[in-house]
């Protein structure tokens, strides 16, 4: 065999080599990139996560009662526009609002739109202070000099729904993350013990897991959440709710971990490690865990929307988070009244964000699942 031959072969093989030497992560990423829906989902998700993280900067007002606009309760959205009857401007503007109460309005407060007065949208305005990354800022992406701008309208106390929505995304993601993390740790420990030891340990653990799985989660959750003392602060409730979510979410994950371990532990590489004298802990950490990290990540992403969903459902009925913590469920409280249904439909705008958020997670989760499946390519 001559040198040139080897050289040619190397050139021919370089593409294949890249494939064969690629790490698991690189392979998954290559397959993931091919899926259009999953990529769109991923971008939307990144966008939503970023907008959740930078919510205080992106939104003009404080989402709590401190940032309320007391002259504009249940106010309709004020949509910035470029053109009107009086001509166009490059800088978007909104109309001024006038609030009055007189004999003409039957002594009720009535807000009228003054189409003659233009208020121009400013960028990087200074407003309420907020904390981000342990520093204090007061610059907001946009706002107006004098008065308020409410892209999604205001609620019954005059809080800006746009600001609340973005903060709510942040909260929902945080609750989901903590919940998923706790569920993950529990699932790993319980499923790990069950799958690695097998036998009667496995049978008993499986029985308990199945029993937990038969209990409808949300009614049980309601039973637990209802007993949170009223004296707890919003933050304590937040952590408690996340923890319960985690405690209820583990069985499905644990089952997957167990099934995977049961099939993997009889593989020859495990036997080889055991023959070399490796301890159980070492085998689990160094050999078994890496063999299914990708599956676990996928499962975590897939179980995320369920967490967000449960939190929203609970907060919606008033057993989950409460003011001043904003979450999507908290924002949907009290929307079933006829008044809101008939007159203040902008209360429902956060629902759109909720749907987009869950959809993005589902698309990414599905894409990841297909990408992490090593036989996905050979099937077709």
């Amino acid at each position: 065999m001559s040198d040139t031959n080897i050289y040619d072969a190397a050139v021919d093989q370089s593409a294949k080599d890249a494939y064969f030497t690629a790490s698991q992560g690189q392979l998954i990423w290559t397959r993931f990139k091919k899926q259009k829906a999953a990529m769109v989902g991923a971008w939307v998700l990144v966008l939503l996560i970023l907008s959740g993280l930078f919510a205080p900067f992106l939104t003009p007002y404080d989402p709590t009662i401190a940032g309320r606009d007391k002259d504009y309760l249940n106010g309709a959205p004020t949509i910035p526009q470029f053109c009107d009857d009086n001509g166009c401007s490059l800088r978007p503007f909104i109309y001024g609002l006038e609030r009055e109460r007189s004999a003409a309005t039957n002594f009720r407060w009535v807000t009228t739109v003054n189409t003659e007065e233009r208020k121009y949208v400013q960028f990087f305005v200074e407003g309420s202070e907020y904390q981000m990354f342990f520093m204090t800022f007061d610059t907001h992406l946009f706002g107006i000099e004098d008065g308020f701008i409410h892209l999604f309208g205001t609620d019954s106390t005059g809080k800006d729904i746009f600001s609340r929505t973005f903060h709510a995304i942040n909260t929902s993601l945080a609750v989901g993350t903590i919940g998923v993390f706790i569920a993950f740790v529990l699932a790993l420990v319980i499923g790990g013990i069950s799958g690695f030891y097998g036998g009667w340990v496995d049978s008993i653990i499986q029985m308990v897991t199945d029993a937990v799985r038969t209990i409808p989660a949300i009614p049980l959750f309601m039973a637990l959440a209802a007993f949170i003392p009223d004296t707890w602060s919003a933050e304590e409730r937040f952590f408690f709710i996340s923890i319960i979510l985690g405690f209820i979410g583990w069985p499905t994950l644990a089952r997957r971990v167990r099934t995977h371990l049961l099939t993997e532990r009889n593989q020859e590489y495990v036997l080889a490690a055991q023959l070399c004298g490796a301890s159980s802990g070492h085998v689990i950490r160094k050999h078994l865990l890496p063999s299914f990290t990708s599956y676990i990540i996928v499962d975590l992403v897939i179980s995320f929307p369920y967490m967000v969903l449960s939190e929203t459902a609970l907060s919606f009925i008033g057993l989950g988070l409460k003011d001043p913590v904003n979450s999507l469920g908290v924002m949907l409280q009290n929307v079933t009244s006829a008044d809101v249904l008939l007159n203040y439909q902008w209360y429902f705008i956060p629902v759109i964000f909720f749907i987009i958020l869950v959809m993005a997670f589902v698309f990414v989760g599905d894409g990841l699942r297909d990408a992490a499946d090593p036989y996905g390519d050979s099937k077709k």
Binding site: T214, T336, V358
Partner: protein, 334 residues
């Protein structure tokens, strides 16, 4: 036959053990929450103006048997529960059976109706989707199944309410018209009930339908590619007969198996949907019991009922599968 009875017996025992285990979990959780029945009742009396001392609370505890050890009370509770006795509600001091009454059966009925509807839609649609090459249909169904998660039942209920209020000026809530609420069951009441119940049944079945379509489709498309289907087609079986007699029968058993968990999913959302649509059956009673009065006795009974019906469904599906599926039948009969 003997083997079959033995199989049924083993399954029944397993279901029973699961039920005991579940009741233990539920009972302990109800115990873990701060405060007990005696305190709650007397706190309630106190709010009505009566003077309450520590001794009164202790006396009430003894009267309710709350001074007994935890395990003993659980055994007593589960023993009574199997006889259909759940004792008195903590706060209302009414017999729980009386309080729940037909509400439990009504809500379990509604949920079973949703489950039936879900599969009545999902099985044919899933089979069509698996055989169809129409990309429009397939993508549409994929979207629907994603929406089943992204637009959960309670949000769907909200959206339908918003829509119906805006368009028809009627929010379509409740289970009965006011004049029938307390009337005895007769034909006009049943008609009125059916006129109201379709919406909750549809809304509760929505997520389950979306998921079931996905499952049926996946199972069917797995089976359709298999060799026995090709062999059958080569023998000249075609069209609907081919689908129904070969792959559909194979795909059946995992679907029947998942019924219990679908029921679980429906129960999950029952209380919230019930609250939104102001249905006055067990679901909203649960919220009432929990959110308003912290009534652990009532909450425990309701959760026990819900879980019990899921376990019952699981047991029935096991038995039905053993009868219907020849593979399982043969493995039992040896």
């Amino acid at each position: 036959m003997v083997q079959f009875l033995r199989f049924a017996g083993i399954r029944a025992t397993l279901a029973f053990i699961t039920l005991c285990l579940v009741s233990f979990i539920v009972f302990s959780l109800m115990e873990l929450v701060p405060g007990d029945c005696a305190e709650r009742y007397l706190a309630f009396k106190n709010s009505q103006g009566a003077q309450i001392s520590i001794a009164d609370i202790e006396a009430e505890r003894v009267r309710l048997g709350l001074d007994r050890p935890f395990f003993e009370r659980w055994v007593k509770w589960i023993f009574n529960a199997f006889q259909g006795e759940f004792g008195d509600s903590c706060i209302l001091r009414l017999d729980i059976n009386q309080l729940l009454g037909q509400k439990v059966w009504l809500s379990i009925g509604i949920c079973l109706g949703s489950l039936l509807l879900a599969y009545a839609i999902a099985v044919p649609v899933g089979i069509i989707a698996a055989t169809s090459r129409n990309p429009f249909l397939n993508n549409g169904l994929r979207l629907v199944s994603y929406l089943g998660l992204a637009l959960p039942n309670f949000l769907l209920a909200l959206m339908i309410m918003l829509f119906s209020t805006m368009v028809f000026g009627n929010s379509l809530t409740g289970l009965f018209s006011p004049e029938y609420r307390d009337a005895p069951w007769d034909w006009p009441k049943i008609k009125d009930f059916l006129g109201h119940v379709w919406l909750p049944v549809f809304i509760l079945g929505w997520s389950a339908t979306a998921f079931a379509i996905q499952t049926v489709r996946a199972l069917m498309s797995d089976e359709i590619g298999k060799l026995y289907v090709t062999a059958a087609a080569a023998r000249g079986v075609a069209g609907r007969q081919l689908l129904m007699r070969y792959p559909a029968r194979h795909a059946l058993s995992p679907i029947v198996n998942s019924l219990g968990f679908d029921l679980n999913r429906i129960f999950n959302e029952l209380p919230i949907v019930a609250l939104i649509l102001t249905l006055t059956e067990a679901g909203s009673l649960l919220i009432e019991a929990l959110a308003r009065s912290n009534d652990q006795q009532l909450a425990g009974a309701i959760i026990f009922f819900l879980t019990g019906s899921i376990i019952a469904i699981n047991f029935i599906t096991d038995i039905v599968l053993a009868i219907v599926d020849p593979r399982i039948r043969r493995s039992i009969l040896g």
